[in-house]
């Protein structure tokens, strides 16, 4: 078990900077998810933690020890690769046992631990099969087995479920989280799938273009997105944005969009006249005939218990989540009000969220 600290980590390939000044701490036993779109530097960060790639600058600390320049083999970390699954020239048993052989562990002990691991992952029935014929899920379990069997200080997993189909993935997400609850090892898990991240993480770091935009527990990232990018990346449908221009005083709790006055969490900073964005989660929109903020329903999508209603307004399009039994007709003009204490305001230029009462309950985190 271990704590992983990443300190001003940077990695360039020639002129291209894949990771820009990353800072985060994965606490002992934590399930940490790095979430971001393809090419944002997730794999590169993970490879640096594993010791497969040397950082251009910055430090990596394992349990407080600086391991930045240690060889991969001296870090006692297990890695589940994005594409690599298994050695084709070995059967399942030998694949799982392979990491133990170089540790000079006796045959009977290896056998015992491989079988114990296989039972944990429910693959004990395929131990003596070749890996070439395995189904995707089993293949991934064997790859996990290879990692677990060593009882390393920490696990690094690079989109281990990326190649599975959705149905299987949901199952594996639950299994992985269960497994983590059982063995409690520090885990860094990389994915571009926000649902996976939300379902598994103790903490999430949202990455974009080599920068960690926000770092915190899933709930916080959802409720208090630090940037417009995060707000847009997380949630399905994502957060709605309404453009407006204003100068806002510190302590202000009202904004005007068009002729409607909208209540927002009390601002903790002053903003000069600039282009701003109001961020509204779909579930924080209500139908309200008395509201001056109006829009036209242009589409509805029923999802069983809820419905997603697309509303066109003068200030942009909104997607709202209503209970399924609320009658909404396409073409109808409706009044809308928002759950004022849950709204975010962003600076449109930098994408940064303005500091407000929304952030009061939580200490500032992130990077």
């Amino acid at each position: 078990m271990a704590e992983i600290r990443v300190d001003s980590l940077k990695k360039s390939f020639g002129d291209f900077t894949a990771v820009k000044d990353s800072n985060f701490t994965v606490e002992n036993g934590e399930f940490f998810v790095m979430l971001g779109p393809s090419g944002c530097g997730k794999t590169t960060t993970l490879r640096m933690i594993a010791g497969l790639e040397m950082p251009s600058s910055g430090k990596i600390l394992l349990d407080g020890d600086d391991v930045t320049f240690n060889r991969a083999s001296h870090r006692d970390i297990a890695f589940v690769f994005q594409l690599f699954a298994l050695y084709p020239h070995m059967n399942v048993r030998r694949n799982i046992g392979f990491p133990l052989i170089c540790q000079g562990i006796g045959r009977t002990e290896i056998r015992r631990r491989v079988e114990e691991t296989a039972r944990l992952l429910r693959i004990d029935h395929i131990l003596d099969k070749p890996v070439s014929g395995l189904a995707g899920g089993d293949r991934q379990r064997v790859a996990l087995g290879r990692a677990i069997v060593r009882r390393p200080k920490a696990f690094l997993m690079d989109e281990p479920l990326g190649t599975l189909d959705t149905e299987f993935r949901d199952l594996m997400v639950r299994e992985l989280r269960e497994l983590h609850n059982n063995i409690g090892a520090t885990t860094v898990y990389v994915t571009h799938d926000q649902i996976e991240a939300m379902a598994m993480a103790d903490k999430i770091a949202v990455m974009n273009h080599g920068v960690i935009e926000q770092f915190g527990p899933p709930q916080e990232i959802y409720d208090r997105p630090a940037t417009m990018y995060v707000a847009d990346f997380i949630g399905s449908p994502p957060m709605n944005f309404l453009a407006f221009r204003a100068s806002l005083p510190k302590g202000g709790s009202n904004i005007d969009i068009g002729n409607a006055s909208i209540e927002i969490p009390e601002l903790r900073e002053e903003v000069e006249e600039s282009d701003l964005m109001l961020g509204v989660r779909p579930e924080h929109i209500r139908l309200d005939d008395t509201s001056a903020f109006r829009g036209k329903v242009i589409g509805t999508e029923y999802l069983g218990t809820t419905q997603i209603v697309t509303i066109s307004t003068d200030h942009g399009q909104l997607k709202a989540r209503f209970a399924a039994d609320i009658p909404v007709r396409e073409g109808e003009t409706v009044g809308l009000s928002f759950a004022g204490e849950r709204l975010s305001v962003f600076d449109r230029g930098s994408g940064r969220a303005l500091h407000s009462a929304l952030h009061d309950t939580h200490a500032e985190t992130g990077g």
Binding site: R75, F81, A85
Partner: protein, 316 residues
């Protein structure tokens, strides 16, 4: 990767396929004829082998093989009459030609030389080629592309162009007409081929294989031996076959640089002379035997050649 595109090519019609098949069969037959002719010549008598029109149907004889492995002397009938009766079938065969066996020929020795030099240089080429290919494929080497091209240049010059300098060099350092000298020479020529072929195979093996082993606590060398080498089996087998075929068949260097102790079979076989000209049946027998090792080697490695390399390992 979609499987639908593979079928977008128009399937050839029945007649076209038949025609294509016929062309292949005819071509195969045409190329096989010299080999078949050599093979049957080995079982002819010297008279049959040079008779005109050529005999396709004849009484098979092992005289070629006996002549290949022995040296014989012609004797007068008076002397022949004083000999005890022949002990073996080949004694008898030789005496029926008014000759006695004087001793073994050099063929066995030359054949062994071919084996030692051929397999020795093949082993060395593949060994060095594997290490170099791995390094070229995995490490950042300054000027790697230029080096690769430079390595290939040993293949560009015709043996004749460099044979004289090499001959002089070898004479100075005492490598001429030695097994070691020929092994070094063939390795030099073959290692370029080996590096190029094997690099392609190493490039195909995902780096993650070794990286996984490195993370598991193996050293780079252990990872290479335990993870990369087994994946390279196909490439190594194919490369070994190519190297062996070159070293085995090489004629020009062997002719110029070897004459006695290290002479290989190719320059030796055409020098098998019987009475009144070349001993064609013995040459046919020699060539037939000469073809066997490469044939056997290829058949032995066939299973590796046909096996996919990284099948089922990576989903692309």
């Amino acid at each position: 990767m979609s499987s639908t595109t593979a079928h977008s090519v128009v399937e050839p019609g029945r007649y076209l396929r038949f025609f294509a098949g016929a062309v292949v069969v005819v071509y195969a037959l045409v190329t096989m004829i010299p080999l078949v002719w050599i093979f049957i010549t080995g079982f002819k008598t010297p008279q049959d082998s040079i008779s005109y029109p050529p005999k396709v149907i004849f009484e098979p004889s092992l005289e070629g093989y006996v002549n290949l492995f022995t040296t014989r002397t012609r004797q007068t009938p008076d002397y022949m009459a004083t000999l005890p009766p022949p002990e073996t079938w080949y004694d008898e065969l030789v005496r029926s030609r008014q000759m006695v066996i004087a001793g073994p020929s050099k063929f066995g020795e030359r054949f062994m030389n071919s084996i030692i030099i051929g397999f020795g240089s093949t082993f060395l080429s593949v060994f060095l080629g594997t290490l170099a290919a791995y390094a070229f494929s995995r490490f950042r080497i300054p000027l790697a592309d230029d080096l690769l091209f430079f390595i290939l240049s040993t293949r560009m010059m015709p043996p004749i162009a460099v044979a004289i300098p090499i001959f002089l060099m070898y004479r100075t350092v005492g490598l001429s007409d030695t097994h070691l000298g020929m092994i070094i020479l063939y390795t030099t020529v073959n290692v370029s081929l080996a590096v190029w072929l094997l690099k392609g195979f190493v490039d195909e093996i995902p780096r993650e294989y070794e990286e996984a082993a490195l993370i598991d606590g193996y050293t780079r060398f252990q990872a290479f031996v335990k993870v990369v080498l087994p994946q390279m089996a196909t490439g190594i087998a194919a490369t070994a076959i190519f190297c062996l075929i070159f070293a085995w068949n090489e004629y020009a260097f062997a002719l110029l640089l070897t004459s006695g102790t290290a002479q290989t079979a190719p320059p030796f076989i055409p020098t098998i002379i019987g009475e009144g000209g070349l001993d064609w049946p013995a040459i046919g027998a020699g060539v037939t035997l000469f073809l066997l090792p490469v044939l056997v080697f290829t058949i032995l490695l066939r299973k590796h050649l046909l096996r996919g390399i990284t099948f089922g390992a990576v989903r692309k």
